[in-house]
C-alpha cells in the first residue's frame, strides 16, 4: 500500500519535472567549448574577382561561435553559469587531435566545434571516435560523414550536400523545371556535389538531360568545355545546374546560356544554410549582431558555428547542468528545441546526428524560397524531406 503510494508520488514528481521548467542554479561554473580550426583553411580566403577587386570578404566561422558565446552568456550569467570559447588551430588532422586532447587535459574541454574540410574532419573524427567528447561539425558537408563514416560522438550543424541538393530539387519540382542540364567543374567537391544532385533529382523526379564538364579558360582548342554558348547549346532544358565550388566559372554562367534559362547550383540560385538577405523569422536581428561584431555578412558556416554554440547553451540551461554527460545526452534527445532564426524548431536526427533545419534558396540579394517547400510533406517532420531520412540512412553508430 505504502509502496504503491510512493510509486504514485514518484510518478507525479517525474511528471512535474517534465512538465515545468526547472530554474537552473549554477555556482560560478564555467563551461568551456573548444573550437578546432585548420591553419590557413583556403575556404575562408577573401574572394577576389580580378586585379584587386574584392568579391566578398572571407572569414572563419569562429566569428559565429564567438557571437554564440556572447548570446548564451546572457542566458547563463543570471543563473551563475559562464561559457567560454577555447580556440585552437592545427595544420593537419593529427595536430588537431593533439590540440583537442591538450584542451581536455589543460582546461577540461569535452565539447568541440570542428571546422575543417571533409577529409580532415573525417580523419579527426575517426581518431577521436572512442573519446568522451562531443564533436560538432560546422563546415564539412560530406554525405559520407552522415552515412558510412558516421559516428555517435560526431554531430553536424552544417547541412549535408544531400540536404542542400534536396532543397534545390524541391524548388525545381515546385516550379516544374524538370529538365536539367548539368555543368560540372574539375574539383573533387564538384564531383561530390554533382553526385548529390543526381541523387536528389532521382529522389524528387527531375531529369538530367545531359552532364557536361567544363574547364576554366579561353583555349579555342578546348572550346567544347570552356565556351558557354557551346556548353549550353545543342540541348533542351528548363534550367542549368552548375557545380563549381571554386566559383569563378559559375559567376559567368547566368545570362550567358544559349537558351534563356535560369541557373542554379553554386551560381544563380543556391541552396544554402544561411543568407544575409533573409528577412523573416527574426533573422535581421541575428544578421545585424553578426555584422556589428565582425564587419562582414554572416555565411552558412558562421550560422552553423553559431547554432552549435547555441545548442550547447540550450543543453546546459535545460539540464540545469554543466555536466558533460547530461549535456551530450540532451543534445541528442528529442527534447532539444533550437531557434535557428529560420522559423522552425531544430533538433538533431537520431539516426545520423544531423541537425534538421530549413534551407534557403538564395541568389545574391534575396531569399527566393525556403525549403522544405510546402508541396513536399513528410510523415512526421517536413524538415526530414531534406537529406537522408531514417529509412534510407546508411549510418550505424
Amino acid at each position: 500500500m505504502i509502496e504503491r503510494r510512493a510509486a504514485a508520488w514518484i510518478g507525479a514528481a517525474l511528471l512535474l519535472a517534465v512538465w515545468t521548467i526547472a530554474a537552473p542554479a549554477f555556482a560560478g561554473t564555467t563551461l568551456r567549448i573548444g573550437y578546432l580550426g585548420l591553419t590557413d583553411d583556403p575556404r575562408y580566403d577573401d574572394k577576389w574577382a580580378y586585379a584587386g577587386l574584392l568579391l566578398s570578404p572571407g572569414g572563419r566561422p569562429d566569428a559565429g561561435a564567438e557571437l554564440g558565446i556572447d548570446e548564451i552568456n546572457l542566458n547563463g550569467q543570471p543563473f551563475g553559469l559562464e561559457f567560454a570559447l577555447e580556440k585552437a588551430e592545427a595544420a593537419d588532422a593529427a595536430a588537431m587531435v593533439a590540440a583537442a586532447n591538450s584542451l581536455k587535459e589543460l582546461k577540461g574541454v569535452q565539447v568541440f566545434l570542428i571546422d575543417a574540410p571533409d577529409a580532415v574532419t573525417a580523419d579527426v573524427a575517426k581518431m577521436l571516435r572512442d573519446k568522451p567528447y562531443v564533436l560538432l561539425n560546422v563546415s564539412a558537408e560530406s554525405d559520407e560523414l552522415r552515412a558510412g563514416a558516421c559516428q555517435g560522438n560526431l554531430l553536424h550543424t552544417i547541412p549535408s550536400r544531400a540536404m542542400r541538393m534536396d532543397a534545390l530539387a524541391e524548388f525545381l519540382l515546385a516550379k516544374k523545371w524538370r529538365q536539367v542540364l548539368v555543368l560540372q567543374g574539375p574539383l573533387r567537391e564538384d564531383a561530390a556535389l554533382t553526385e548529390a544532385f543526381q541523387h536528389s533529382a532521382a529522389k524528387f523526379g527531375a531529369k538530367i538531360v545531359e552532364m557536361r564538364k567544363f574547364v576554366l579558360g579561353n583555349d579555342p582548342r578546348a572550346r567544347d568545355s570552356d565556351n558557354l554558348a557551346l556548353l549550353t547549346g545543342g540541348a533542351d532544358y528548363d534550367v542549368v545546374f552548375v557545380a563549381d565550388t571554386d566559383g569563378e566559372f559559375g559567376r559567368y554562367v547566368p545570362y550567358a546560356t544559349q537558351l534563356p534559362r535560369p541557373v542554379v547550383g553554386t551560381a544563380g540560385l543556391a541552396p544554402v544554410a544561411w543568407s544575409w538577405a533573409f528577412e523573416r523569422d527574426g533573422a535581421p536581428q541575428l544578421l545585424r549582431r553578426f555584422q556589428r561584431k565582425t564587419g562582414r555578412q554572416m555565411q552558412s558556416a558562421d550560422w552553423a558555428a553559431w547554432i552549435a554554440v547555441r545548442a550547447l547553451g540550450e543543453a546546459a540551461m535545460r539540464t540545469a547542468s554543466a555536466d558533460f554527460g547530461k549535456i551530450a545526452a540532451y543534445l541528442k534527445s528529442p527534447q532539444l528545441s533550437l531557434d535557428g532564426y529560420k522559423g522552425a524548431s531544430l533538433s538533431f536526427r537520431p539516426w545520423d546526428n544531423q541537425l534538421r533545419q530549413p534551407l534557403m534558396l538564395a541568389d545574391s540579394n534575396w531569399v527566393v524560397a525556403t525549403a522544405p517547400l510546402p508541396q513536399f510533406q513528410h510523415a512526421t517532420n517536413n524538415l526530414d524531406t531534406l537529406g537522408f531520412d531514417k529509412p534510407e540512412s546508411k549510418c550505424h553508430f
Binding site: 548570446e71 543570471p78 540551461m317 533550437l338 531557434d339
Partner: protein, 331 residues
C-alpha cells in the same frame, strides 16, 4: 416578495455596473476608430469603427510596430524601430505631430498610469529603456536578455516584466531601482504577454515551442504550459505570438502565426475550446473595450480580421498596409 427583492438587488447591481462602466469610459474620446501599424510602408492605417472603411493613412517613422494611447486617448505613441524613435500621433488630427528621438530600435512598450514614463523594449540593443515623456528623453536603460519584445507593467506600477525572445528569458525589473529582480527561463522564443485581471498570472507566448507559458506572479515560476492542437496542423506550424485576456478574466485569445488561427482558451481550465481561422501569419491581437470584437493583424496577408468575440465568428477581413503588426482601438 422575496423574488421581487432579489430582482431589485440584481437591478441595482446592474445599474451600478453600468454606471461604473460609463464612468470608466468617460475619459475616452471614443471615436471608435481603429489604428493599425504596418511594419513595411511606414504608415498607420486608420479605419472607421463602424463601417471599417479606411479613414486615413498616417505617415510615421520607419517600421512602426507597438502602439499605446496616453491616458486621455488624445495621443498615440508608436515605436518606429528603424528610425530609433517613438512617434506621437494626434488622434483628433490624425497626424504624426512629434517624436522622441534616440530610442534604440524600439519594438513594444508599456506606459505608466501617471502617463510620465514609457518602458520600451529595444529589440536590437538588448535593453529596456525608460523614457521621460515630458522631457522627451531616455532617462535610464536596463540591460536584459537578447531581443526583448513584450513589456508588461504590473498594475501596482512597481514591477515591469520583459520577455527576451532570443534568450528564452523573462526578466522582472523593479521600476524604482531599475534592477532585474528575477529571471525566469521560458520555453523557446518568448514573445508577448497577457496579464490576468487579478494580476496573479502572467501569460507569455513561446513562439518556437508552440506554447503559452503561465508564470505565477507571486513566485515568478512557470506553473503551466498550454499546447495547441488545431486540426490539420503539425506542432512545428504552431507559432503563438499575440495574446489577450478578456476583462472578465474568463477567456484568452492567442494568435498562432503560421497556423493562421486564433486559439480561444478557457482561462480557468486552461483548455483550448476553439480555433478561429483568420488571415495569414496573425500576430497582433486586440479586444475592444466592451469585449465584443476581436481585431487580429495578419502580417502575411496585409489585412486585419475582425471577429465577433461572443460567437467566435469572423465578421470581416479588411485590407490595410503592408505587414500589419498591431491594432489599437479608440473606444
Amino acid at each position: 416578495m422575496i423574488l421581487q427583492a432579489r430582482f431589485a438587488t440584481v437591478s441595482l447591481v446592474v445599474l451600478i455596473a453600468a454606471l461604473g462602466f460609463a464612468a470608466s469610459n468617460a475619459a475616452a474620446k471614443g471615436t471608435g476608430r481603429i489604428f493599425v501599424s504596418n511594419e513595411k510602408g511606414d504608415v498607420l492605417t486608420v479605419l472607421d469603427g463602424a463601417t471599417y472603411e479606411k479613414v486615413a493613412s498616417i505617415k510615421t517613422g520607419k517600421r512602426p510596430r507597438g502602439m499605446k494611447f496616453n491616458a486621455d486617448q488624445s495621443k498615440i505613441y508608436v515605436a518606429c524601430g528603424d528610425s530609433d524613435r517613438i512617434d506621437v500621433i494626434d488622434v483628433a488630427k490624425l497626424a504624426d505631430v512629434d517624436h522622441i528621438s534616440d530610442v534604440p530600435d524600439p519594438e513594444a512598450f508599456d506606459i505608466d498610469t501617471a502617463g510620465k514614463h514609457l518602458l520600451v523594449s529595444n529589440e536590437d540593443a538588448g535593453g529596456l529603456s525608460v523614457i521621460d515623456i515630458a522631457a522627451k528623453k531616455q532617462v535610464a536603460t536596463v540591460k536584459i536578455g537578447l531581443e526583448p519584445e513584450g513589456v508588461q507593467l504590473m498594475p501596482d506600477q512597481a514591477t515591469v516584466y520583459v520577455a527576451a525572445e532570443a534568450s528564452n528569458l523573462v526578466s522582472a525589473v523593479d521600476v524604482a531601482s531599475r534592477k532585474v529582480t528575477a529571471t525566469i527561463l521560458t520555453d523557446q522564443r518568448p514573445r508577448r504577454f497577457a496579464l490576468t485581471p487579478d494580476a496573479k498570472q502572467l501569460w507569455v507566448s513561446a513562439e518556437i515551442a508552440g506554447m503559452v507559458d503561465i508564470i505565477d506572479v507571486a513566485s515568478n515560476k512557470i506553473v503551466d504550459r498550454i499546447k495547441f492542437e488545431p486540426k490539420g496542423f503539425r506542432q512545428d506550424e504552431i507559432a503563438p505570438v499575440g495574446l489577450v485576456i478578456s476583462a472578465d478574466g474568463k477567456t484568452a485569445f492567442v494568435t498562432l502565426g503560421h497556423a493562421n488561427h486564433v486559439a480561444v482558451i478557457d482561462v480557468a481550465s486552461r483548455k483550448t475550446r476553439n480555433f478561429i481561422l483568420v488571415g495569414k501569419r496573425p500576430w497582433g491581437i486586440t479586444l475592444s473595450r466592451d469585449g465584443k470584437r476581436l481585431f487580429v493583424a495578419n502580417g502575411g496577408s496585409d489585412d486585419i480580421t475582425i471577429v465577433d468575440a461572443g460567437s467566435e465568428k469572423v465578421i470581416k477581413s479588411v485590407a490595410v498596409g503592408r505587414y500589419p503588426y498591431g491594432v489599437l482601438i479608440d473606444d
